[in-house]
């Protein structure tokens, strides 16, 4: 089984292939692409459920947008709204990056293309960069709101 792969010394020689990956690692790349795609779909599914719920409430009870916007009257409320909007935008970008990475990695494993593998790894790097930056922003926001709460 792949999970029980016997990891040997790090300095073992590379196998010759166009992608610089051996057969077992190409199979692993397929597995990576499969789960990356599912992770992307899960993120999209999460927002899909939220939107379905909002659509249901809007259809059943109506969505009084003017009332909702008039209740957002303080800078903190606007900041919170901005935060949730940012969260939505970033998670959609992350999901699309994950799916793009999955497609390119799958293609790289299928046609054993070195260039496609490069593209896939670039997508992965962009994904981790965006996730890392949003993580840092999230922590900074939490710390800031904690400090403001303590001060006021």
């Amino acid at each position: 089984m792949l999970e029980n792969y016997d990891s040997g010394p790090m300095d073992a020689p590379m196998e010759e292939s166009q992608t610089a990956l051996g057969h077992a690692n190409l199979q692993r790349l397929v597995l990576v692409s499969k789960w990356a795609r599912w992770a992307g779909i899960a993120i999209l599914g999460f927002w899909g459920v939220i939107f379905l719920l909002v659509a249901y409430i809007a259809l059943r009870f109506g969505l009084p947008l003017s009332d909702i916007f008039s209740s957002i009257d303080s800078p903190q409320a606007w900041l919170l709204l901005l935060f949730y909007f940012g969260l939505f935008v970033v998670s959609i970008i992350l999901a699309s990056k994950l799916i793009q990475f999955a497609n390119k990695a799958h293609q790289a494993a299928q046609i054993a293309s070195k260039q496609q593998l490069e593209f896939a790894l670039e997508e992965l790097a962009t994904y981790f960069k965006i996730l890392g930056i949003s993580f840092a922003v999230l922590i900074a926001y939490s710390l800031l709101s904690f400090v403001i709460d303590k001060l006021t």
Binding site: P9, M10, L29, W35, L117, L121, K129
Partner: protein
């Protein structure tokens, strides 16, 4: 800056190109950052839950549990799902951290076994991510359906 560790020019001859290695180093550095901060945040989160259970935190643990007990069978499903989400979230951060470490090592000295380990950690990290996000959606839907099923009359009153 993150992801700009020193490159090894000799590594290109062995297999992956410099572009691929640079991408791996960038991914590795950010993945380690995400893994470490995620694990620290999860630690703080779990510590707060424990403090609340032992009535040291701001929420009274007994009252908290009393509310859940009132919900009966829902309590068991929610608690089990919630615990699973926490477990898979910890696995996700841990695997991301391991991937980050491996990616950085491979970025400087490639090996087939090292790449195997890195890819294993990466797919396990994505699997954990899928499970914990899927679990969150499940809990959300479960609560919605439960309350919709049991308190449907209340919705009609609100109309």
């Amino acid at each position: 800056m993150l992801g700009e560790s020193s490159a090894n020019p000799a590594s290109e001859e062995k297999g992956l190109s410099q572009v691929a290695l640079q991408s791996l180093r960038t991914s590795g550095a950010w993945a380690r950052f995400i893994g470490i901060t995620g694990l620290i945040l999860m630690g703080i989160f779990l510590l707060r839950i424990l403090l609340n259970i032992f009535n040291i935190g701001p929420i009274n643990g007994d009252e908290f549990l009393q509310v859940f007990r009132m919900l009966g069978g829902l309590f068991t499903v929610l608690i089990i799902s919630y615990l699973l989400i926490i477990v898979f979230q910890v696995i996700y951060y841990f695997k991301t951290l391991q991937f980050g470490r491996d990616a950085d090592v491979i970025g400087n000295a490639q090996s087939e076994q090292g790449i195997a380990r890195m890819l294993d950690n990466l797919w396990q990290s994505f699997r954990a991510q899928t499970i914990f996000i899927g679990g969150t959606v499940f809990i959300f839907l479960f609560i919605l359906i439960y309350f919709y099923w049991n308190f449907y009359w209340m919705l009609n009153l609100m109309k």
